[in-house]
Amino acid sequence: MPSGLNVLKLLTPTLCFLLLVATPAIAQADRKKMTEPEIASLQQSVAVTAKNIKSLTADFAQYKHMDFLAKDMESTGKLVFKQPDKMLLQYKKPYNYSESYINGKIHINDDGKKKDYDIGNSDVYRTVNKLIIGSVSGSLFNTGEFEVSYYKVGNNPVAVFVPHDPNLKKYMGRIELTFSPADASVTQVKIQDSETDFTRIVFKNRVTNGHIEDDVFRN
């Protein structure tokens, strides 16, 4: 498989961090640009929410929409996160596949076949790392790696991230985060491949700050 796949693997923890809190997706409606005070308020609220999360478990459903398909490709699984840098993403249906991220390595369990990847010091990883730290520290919006624009869809704030790095841009043209107006948690993440195709991930049964053993991440 091409080395670009490794880039995609690196993007996964970022996406998961962006999904720290999620509730069922809201319907899309007309969007309008947020004002500067609204943007500042959102950034502050996100920072507070992110700071309070020490661990997280959640079930997720992932929908891959492609315009030419009769229905979305759907998969479900579980996300486990523990500060500062442990992450497990476990697909259960319709296939068994999991990846965990510990100490700069990716551990893959593909239906019983296990292998490890060293993330190394790639530029992309550094970008991703900034994003991870940024999303936890609340400085996500100030990494400089993305052009960020802000909208409101109904009452829900939406942040649209477009990577500056052309290499990163090949893999994700645009990421849209929709936040809850109540607690600034992310309610929907949409990764846009093209004008018509996207991946949408929805989380449910979320539990924050529960006790999680490190063994969980040994995949």
């Binding site: 891959k64 030419f68 195709d197």
Partner: protein
Amino acid sequence: MGILRMTCSAISLCALAASCRPAAMHHAERVPLDTSSIAVPYFSDSATDYLYKATLKFAGRDESGLLVIKRTGRDTYRAVLTTQFGNRLLDVQWTPTGYTVNFALPNLQKTFILNRLVADLRMMTGGTQPVSKEFAGTDGKWYVSGTRGQRMYFGLDNGGSLILVSRYGWMVEQASVRYGEVGIQGAAHLTMRHRRPRFTLELRRLGE
């Protein structure tokens, strides 16, 4: 000495003749044709998204992802290979005579790679092919299409289900596709083998 040389040449020719078609066909005998064409039926429903878990074995490595194939027109198909997370690796559509790349990772954006990939996908999904010869054996029967420069072999089991397609170029196998657990809904397992470069793509149907 001359006789020895001729004998060696004859043996070599026999060996070459035997190797220029699928091994399972070696004991099959030529029989009169009972059809003028054959089609791969497993991707023929344009209302169905054929979704597979894909495992690519190449240069000692195993990588997995998802492959979705769809018939988008009378003679057109589209295939998209993604990671488990939904990121596209390859998005290509093709007709019997050409193809269009909607997206490909930089490492795949090479004409010789894309030509081979599309040729293999085209063989796997099929379309109707005129056949010129038929062979029958104890395990089933074979249909042959094309010419020596580009020949296709279609292997059917005794129940009449297509289980193998093999493509040869100048008597050397280029690629083959084996279909497993076949039925009206398609094939539950497929194994595609390409010779040069040598790689294997294994597909397991999802969502059925």
